[in-house]
Amino acid sequence: MAEHDPQSIPALLERNARRYGANAAYREKEFGVWQTWTWLATAEEVRSLALGLLALGINRGDYVAIIGRNRPALYWSMVATQKVGAIPVPLYQDAVADEMAYVLDHCGARFVIAGDQEQVDKVLEVGDRAKSVEHILYLDPRGLRKYDHSHLHALADVAAEGRAAHERLEPELKAREAEVTYDSTCVMLYTSGTTGRPKGVVLSNRNIIETSKNSSEFDRLRAGDEVLAYLPMAWVGDFIFSIGQAYWTGFCVNCPESESTVQTCLREIGPTYYFAPPRVFEQLLTDVTIRMEDASRLKRWLFARAMKLARRVGPRLLDGQSVGAWDRFRYWLNGRLIYGPLKDALGLGRIRVGYTAGEAIGPEIFEFYRSLGINLKQLYGQTEASVFITQQPDGQVRSDTVGIASPGVELKVAESGEVFYRSPGVFVEYYKNPESTAGTKDDEGWVATGDAGFIEEDTGHLRIIDRAKDVGKLADGRLFAPKYVENKLKFYPNILEAVVFGADRPDCTAFINIDLQAVGNWAERSNLAYASYQELAGNPRVYAMISEHVAEVNRTLADDPILSGCQVHRFLILHKELDADDGELTRTRKVRRRIIEEKYADLLTALYDGSESIYTETEVTYEDGRKGKISATLKIARAEVAAPTAQKVAAE
């Protein structure tokens, strides 16, 4: 923490404008062409916006909600907000008006900066439920021309007014900026929360800058790196990658043209530093697999041969282990002919550092990317830690751990198995919620992760088993770790989502969601006709296929002395996809166990009372907020259960 290091994001921006002035800071594809802003241009844009906000009467400590897809102007809005001593609060853009109302009201936002008409409409719909909102600023004017503009402003106009009034407002801006310290709030992020209302996590400049500095050094990130900003701006990861680390190191943030063009833009940019949740990597691999299955026999044969070699040699090369000259040569040749073009098609051709986190990733999926020579690693993080708790150093990458403690982070595992950490990134508090703050962070700064895990003695790597509160006991006292089992199930491309039950019950059962793309493709190839998701889900042959997957998972569980009790005895395939709009998943697509348990109580009962099938009606919410009902008769299937093999050696 050298004293000359900038102490805030706006200060880092000034430094970058001096140091990397002519380098690209932001790119956005618009009207089919990548538009570029240098650090110098960015500093100018941010200054204009900050002056404009002052002209609108923004006060110190005001909360400014920012809602929209990843666009440079919205990132600038966040920094401009910090520059005038206010606090940016990015929100999830797919949040429905109700969720938005709660957050806007909770932080008392006076300003909302919205990406487009859709977001403006939601804020207007919230209306009286968030009385604090005084001004709405919007980026894309389309469709908004005829709205009442008494409290509505185009962001470009605000910036222009700021520029026009710079003589008058400059002194005030200077004064405000000088007041921002290392301990001022940098950003407030609402956690999606698997239970209860979202909590506002307050992160200081110290949290963000220290974390960005440490993690950038860990992976040797540098000016000249490229990232694609496509994950929700409200998520702490995007804030760290696209603002924290980008401003610390001076690398370039690229914003895709629209949500539907992310894959094309990824290819065009070819990022060198990339983050994606496991489901994105799964999806990509599924796409590759499906397309290879449709390819000619010669291509299939070549691909299979090349991948066999890659799986054997690729990861060892990445980890710097010794590989024979002949294998090296063959890998290099295949790289020119097959891996290279494939990586390029996926947009992963230039990756130096790639991360995945948030959920467990299937070992096959992980190995696939590693074997192609993509340096994909895992990290473990939380909003409360400004992301980084543990991460995998180059050369020590495995699919079943989440790595060693990140630089500056201390780890400990409590008696109960819950993991605790302490770091410079640890959040200041939950906004207006001292009880929760006290319940999560103790006086010495240790934070409970809520996850159960253990540290491997020989390697020092952390392994996470499950959410601490989800880890329970079966009726006979055997250990029950639902997520561990769910992850094993979800590693099958045919299974999109699984929810396992069993706490205080005699045995385990599961709800399964099939993956429409993978199973649909399989159905097409095996001449199976279906008209809807529901019909496909209820097909006996699909049941048989899923049944096999469950049986395989049961066999691997039987080998595990601790978790052999978690074998799934009965399951059913749900008639609808679990959806965040119905409250069944969080916005980051994590299963909300309690809600599912309540909502589908009838199905759960049927899994345990010996029924063969059950009729059910479920309420669904459409994207526009309307509600409807779907009904179905679901079959309950029995799965093959394996006898525990390792019971006798479980002497611990």
């Binding site: 618009e30 009207f31 089919g32 062409v33 389309r142 469709g143 021309r145 005829k146 043209e257 629209s258 539907s260 063009t261 094309t264």
Partner: protein, 271 residues
């Protein structure tokens, strides 16, 4: 109604004077009278619908406006001037663009190229210059591409920019057709059954785009449509045709209350 009066709709759009006027149009194919003595006008900035049961002569009327058919009797007035018989390409130069009932795109070409063809009437460089991408042709292409990209952005088809049209689903093809027509920057846009064969969601999307085009670019739109619900929702005025005759003309509410229209659509009991 006064010819030059400027009115404002309840949703705040401005409707100007008469842009196009059809006077006593009669169209015959041999002995068949497809259109009998029909007169109506289209005002600047409005969404004007022509509806009617199958075979009422709607498409023929659109074809007369676009210059494809020349009526045996009657006059077509455009911007206060009587229009002499014209070829479709000459009509296009006047600023009238259209889409077709059964999609007429170039299947093998990408969406971008298809939309670019809509700019043809605005290009002056010759075949040679374009082939060599040299001098004036180069500047012209860049300028036209920029215009086309704005339309691609407007209609939210960025993700299929480079996709060959043949690979697109029906609803998207319709949207590409609209994009191509818009690329001509028409002052009058003719849409021939823009929502035929679409599902409810696609219809809603298309309705929104039609309203947005009218709102954002101030384009006058004349459309033929089967779906009464959609027409009544988005049009300012409606002409109703039946067996080649005009049986109603007015705002959606007026048309809805018109007994002849109700009879034509629901059938009449013959005693």
């Amino acid at each position: 109604m006064n010819d030059t009066a400027v009115t404002t709709t309840p949703d705040g759009r401005t409707i100007g004077g008469v842009l196009m006027e059809m006077k006593h149009i009669t169209l015959r194919f041999g002995g068949v009278e497809a259109i009998k003595d029909i007169s109506f006008d289209i005002r600047e900035g409005e969404i004007r619908a022509i509806i009617g049961p199958n075979g009422a002569g709607k498409s023929s009327m659109l074809n007369i406006i676009s210059g494809f058919y020349v009526p045996q009797e009657g006059e077509v007035w455009f911007r206060g001037v009587k229009r002499p018989p014209m070829k479709p390409f000459q009509v296009a130069k006047l600023g009238i663009a259209r889409t077709f009932q059964n999609i007429a795109l170039f299947d093998g070409m990408s969406v971008l190229d298809n939309v670019m063809t809509g700019r043809l009437t605005h290009m002056s460089s010759g075949l040679f210059g374009q082939a060599l991408w040299w001098g004036h042709a180069q500047a012209e292409e860049v300028e036209n591409r920029a215009k086309v990209e704005r339309i691609i952005d407007f209609l939210e088809i960025q993700n299929i920019r480079k996709t060959p049209v043949a690979r697109l689903p029906y609803g998207l093809k319709k949207r590409v057709e609209l994009a191509r027509a818009l690329a001509a920057e028409p002052s009058l846009l003719l849409l021939d059954e823009p929502m035929a064969g679409m599902n409810v969601e696609e219809k809603e999307d298309m309705s929104r785009f039609i309203l947005d085009v009218n709102d954002e670019f101030g384009t006058t739109i004349a459309l033929i449509e089967h779906d009464m619900g959609v027409v009544m929702d988005i049009s300012d005025r409606v002409v109703v045709m039946d067996y080649g005759k005009k049986i109603g003309d007015g705002t959606p509410d007026e048309v809805r209350a018109n007994q002849d229209v109700i009879d034509a659509y629901l059938g009449v009991a013959h005693d």
